[in-house]
Amino acid sequence: MDVLTWQQVVELLRYDFVRDMLVAGAVLGLLAGVLGPLVVTRKMAFAVHGTSELAFTGGAAALLIGVGVGYGALVGSLVAALLLGLLSRRDSDRDSVIGAILAFGLGLGVLFLHLNTERTANKFGLLVGQVVSIGSTDLWLLVSASVAVLAVLAFTWRPLLFASVDPAVAVARGVPVRGLAVVFAVLVGVATALSVQIVGALLVLSLMITPGAAAVRITASPVRATVLAVVFAEVSALVGMALSLVLGMPVSVFVTAVSFLIYLVCRLAGGNRQRAR
């Protein structure tokens, strides 16, 4: 592998695509970090994985009919999120619903790629992420969609937290628990679709789940967990991207490695979490 010198890295930062990538990484880190602890609390890791792979299906469909991959991924994830939110009414059947939808969706994605005779380079990128896949249109989509997700999240924050950690009493207090489950699934779907562009469908978990899972290992405060998850996701995304630039390897390799390292450290630190008597 070719390791770049510092001068070459500074040189790289002059390129729009590099700057776009770093901005995209920072935005995604924020988004994924904010959602992460709630996703972990609601036990939706598999749902995130499912939505991200269906973003791939949407992207493949978009490639086939010749529209932006980003929009296709967004639509694919949204459809998946809505299906999951509406079909899995009970926790107990969520896993099987995801399994069924995911399998069929991936089959469709493979079909779309098979029917597509051009642009082979993009096919791999949808699954494992690709630096150059972020264009300025995608960046615009990313930033505006992120702002929308964060705004909805801020508005629904307290009832959503209530419904996530204490659904029985939340329902009794008039919180629309069912409706919020669908809203949250859609928020996760949008965030997932955006992340797919950068880390790829297979590795979205490293930004959405791993930082959140790491944070809840070391604190029981929902607010602190969210702040920590944002920090962990930002570090994973930006350090991962920087390393991939310097070492000339795919982004996802380092994003996943950094976030997993943080997770390991948090597990060790919180592993003997006991009550202070």
Binding site: F155, W157, V165, D166, R173
Partner: protein, 270 residues
């Protein structure tokens, strides 16, 4: 006249209330007024509609007939569910649980008024003696500690009506006492009406003003001494039921499922 008007101001009022699922009538013609500060125990076998009554009062279940009125509406209701296992990795401290009882139903992030909020949460925690473990993860607390937090969560919103659904289930005798004393203190100090669903009347017997006893569509309302008799319960169960008083305790012998230990839930798993 004024005195009479205040007398008739009830916290909970059911008039000719009927609840039926298809052909199955849980109860019909139920008239119940719970006065402020009154403690009403709701008893009956499984499937008699105790939990459905709570759901009706919470507005989660529509009556098939009649009317229901809860003073101050849903926001003035405190609700204490039965103790259930909490995942020990749940990202939630005692003070967060109580805080959600205060304003968890409000939209937004609640950035304004954080200091008075914290003071109210602290006061509610102190009132149930939970200050010491307020910052511990809820999942690492004992059942008794969790139920004290539940009481604080239900009381922090300053409720006019307290709905308790088997809040003592799976607690040991000491903690049954602690939790029921806290509820008793609240209704005496603040005049909160209490509706207390339970399958076991003895832990709360000294606190109970009236009993609502539901059996297969039939019901009886009255003071414990009136309702908890061999004659009344035999009528309700339509079989020979013996009520035995041992010291300060009441034991019901003879009917199938008179004393059930099955927990149930107000809210389905969702």
């Amino acid at each position: 006249m004024t005195a009479q008007l205040t007398d008739t101001r009830s916290a909970v009022s059911l008039r000719g209330a009927r609840l039926a699922y298809g052909d199955r009538v849980l109860w019909d013609g139920l008239d119940l007024d719970v006065a402020p500060g009154e403690f009403v125990a709701v008893l009956g076998p499984n499937g008699s509609g105790k939990t459905s009554l709570i759901r009706v009062l919470l507005g989660l279940q529509k009556l098939s007939g009649g009317t229901v009125r809860v003073s101050g509406g849903n926001r003035r209701i405190g609700y204490i569910p039965q103790q259930r296992a909490v995942d020990d990795t749940l990202t939630l401290r005692g003070r967060d649980l109580v805080g959600l009882g205060l304003d968890g139903h409000n939209w937004g992030m609640g950035m304004r008024g954080r200091r008075p909020r914290r003071e109210r949460v602290d006061a509610a925690l102190a009132a149930v003696g939970a200050t010491r473990y307020a910052d511990e993860p809820v999942g690492l607390l004992s059942g008794g500690e969790q139920q004290r937090l539940r009481v604080a969560q239900a009381l922090v919103g300053d409720p006019e009506v307290l709905l308790c659904d088997e809040p003592l289930l799976s607690l040991d005798l000491h903690h049954q006492r602690v939790v029921s004393d806290l509820i008793d203190a609240r209704r005496r100090d603040a005049g909160t009406a209490v509706l207390f669903v339970t399958h076991e009347i003895n832990p709360v017997l000294p606190l109970v003003d009236r009993v609502l006893y539901l059996v297969e569509g039939r019901f009886r309302i009255g003071a414990p001494a009136e309702v908890m008799t061999s004659r009344t319960l035999s009528e309700l169960y339509r079989t020979n039921v013996e009520v035995v008083r041992v010291r300060d305790q009441i034991h019901v012998v003879g009917a199938q499922h008179v004393c059930e230990d099955e927990p149930h839930h107000v809210v389905g798993e969702s």
